[in-house]
Amino acid sequence: MKKRIAALTVALSLSIFGAAAACAAVAATAATPLAAPAATAPGATAPAPPAAAAAKAEVTPAKGAAAAPAKITPNRGITIGMFALIIAVTMGVVVWAAKKTQTASDFYTAGGGITGFQNGWAIAGDYMSAASFLGMSGLISLYGIDGFMYAVGPMFSFIAILLVIAEPCRNAGKYTLGDILSFRSSPKVVRGVAALSTVTVSIFYLIAQMVGAGKLMQMLLNIPYKVSVIGVGALMVAYVVFGGMKATTWVQIIKASLLMGATTVLCLLVAIKAGFNPVSFFTDVVNSSAIQEHVRMNVLKDVVAKPGVDYGQRFMEPGLFLKSPLDQISLGLAWALGAAGLPHILMRFFTVPSAKDARKSIIIALFLNSTFFFMISVIGFGAALYLTPQAISAVDKGGNMATLLLAQHMGGGPGSLGGDIFLAFICAVAFATILAVVSGLVLAASAAIAHDVYVNIIKDGKADQHLQVKVARITSLFVGTSAIVMGLMAEKENVVALVALAFAVAASGNFPVVMLSLFWRKFNTAGIVSGLVVGTVSALALVMVSPVMTYPKKIAADARKVVDTLEKKQAGGAVLAEKEVQALVKSRAEYAKNKNGTSMVGLDAPIFPLKNPGIVSVPLGFMAAFFGCLLFRERRAEEMFDEIDVRQNTGIGIAKAAEH
């Protein structure tokens, strides 16, 4: 059955690529600038967005670059067909997995039957989220090298996992964070706190993904936000409740293969167009007048060009997006340590039979991810060069459509068959990506509740396999439904911060206590509890008072500035352009609405200056764990250290995945 899935996936990918590549080859010979003004974009059923006006008025694409429509227009028929195909394939996997999921170990760890190679793809898949696939290339296409720098963080996080976390955890633990931590400490207290932390981290990540899914579907297919969120949620619940870890692992593997395939093809197309010559490619980027104008006007906001500034080269220099060095270091710390503390990643180590397989899977995941992020960078720069940053940001301010637009362009352009197929495929892959990631998150949160809290705390560890599986399924249903509800509620919120927050909490709360449990003789219950609580709470609290939250008074102040400038212009006798009149009206309204508001915690302005709390909360977490432990010494914990020390170093007594 597995071979059939693999064959099907490969066949599917190859036929898509074959079709798209063929069309691209045809289109490449007729590579003239395509003029596709937004007003006549084919098949646009949605109302013309304000971007259409912008595309006509200010933003003129440079000569020799293709003009993309201001709204991305996938061919609905083909796209929905692709979606249906991917859903069908993955549902098939779920049905197959459901038949094989009988015991708790099946449900949580796929019975330990995943090989190192397969697990490597699954873990890589967890990292290749829609945010990396779409968001990072978008960042690079709009801000240049800062986006590439941003990609190093998630890639590097594998090193911490590889060297100090993966093998020891597999040797010492079973399913969850709670299993590892409760080894030589008071199980009930520790499991309770660990479960709380796991659920918190997973929920943040989940909300961000659900909102992202809703918005993506809305943008691509005009499916209303609420419908998309419920649709994605329902599928995710089905995957987890029926298929458990087996289903989520295989869905991740399939999605990772599709994503790597799609990215490789897109990257190759860019490379071919650039003649495989990086020097000439980047020279073109730097010399592109569209990019130069974008950097000058939109990013640096120099209305009059400053003499001696090479705006094109500026695109290759840091500082266009990431501005504060301390913030970057903070973010870097969160990335480097946070992934090693993410519960849904930790769970993946237990799906393989031994520590050596865990090692192999991390190495494979690292290879896959580094290649992936490098290719994304090529795609990002390619999108900037061939589509122009102005066109990309016209469709979506954050640049999230860059990859999709490039796929459409490379396939032959909007409206062409190749373009439509390729675009539809990439959309469907982005959809699968979100589905796979949310399934893993739901599973991790459910494991914490069902396994740690219910089975071990409430039922004292005594529950037969059938009961455990039943509880696990019911919990997953509950968690998944809550995720849907929260996704619906969070439609208007700024969820980008939530993923960074999840990483910060994992880095400050989970990572220190896992490390100290495994490596420090004196570590005990008090240390675990203090570390988890202080790390998590400090990360949360600092974010609540950081610039990441919405501060109405700041919005009002910015709006006030716009109003003042425009009113002054008006008073001076000038006639405002239509766009400026619109801006004036909008800013006045924004000002009135926001001038008396406060942030969610009642602040006018942020107290903590950094967007990421890592640089403060991680040391705090470590220190709390350290001092908490020393204040309340525990003989038993110290005596039991030998056991966990031997286990984690050698694998003696390793819990077979089929035991529990």
Partner: protein, 101 residues
């Protein structure tokens, strides 16, 4: 079922002590070295951005190459670790297990 392993006894075994010592030295040193190298990225780009601007080949500057080197470093560390783990750690572990039988 075979008797429960005597953890304290194993912990005192010379083979185990050697394995543990070698592992700790290797893993922690390389973890710290690579983390420092990684953190150099935000430090240099934030506090010494001129360094990143130095052009090396055409418009490709030191910054771009330094970022690329991070990828190389990560892959390099992974490969090196796999090599050492296979050659040394796994061998020592097997030695220990044989000695315990």
């Amino acid at each position: 079922m075979s008797e429960k392993p005597q953890w304290e006894a194993i912990a005192k075994h010379s083979s185990f002590i050697e394995l543990k010592r070698k592992k700790r030295n290797f893993l922690f040193s390389w973890w710290i070295i690579s983390t420092i190298y990684y953190l150099l990225l935000p430090v240099i780009s934030g506090y010494f951005p001129e360094a990143f601007r130095v052009k090396v080949i055409g418009p490709i500057n030191f910054g771009y190459l330094f970022i690329l080197s991070q990828f190389v470093m990560a892959i390099g560390v992974a490969i090196y670790y796999a090599h050492v783990a296979n050659k040394t750690f796994d061998r020592l572990t097997k030695q220990l297990l044989d000695a315990l039988k």
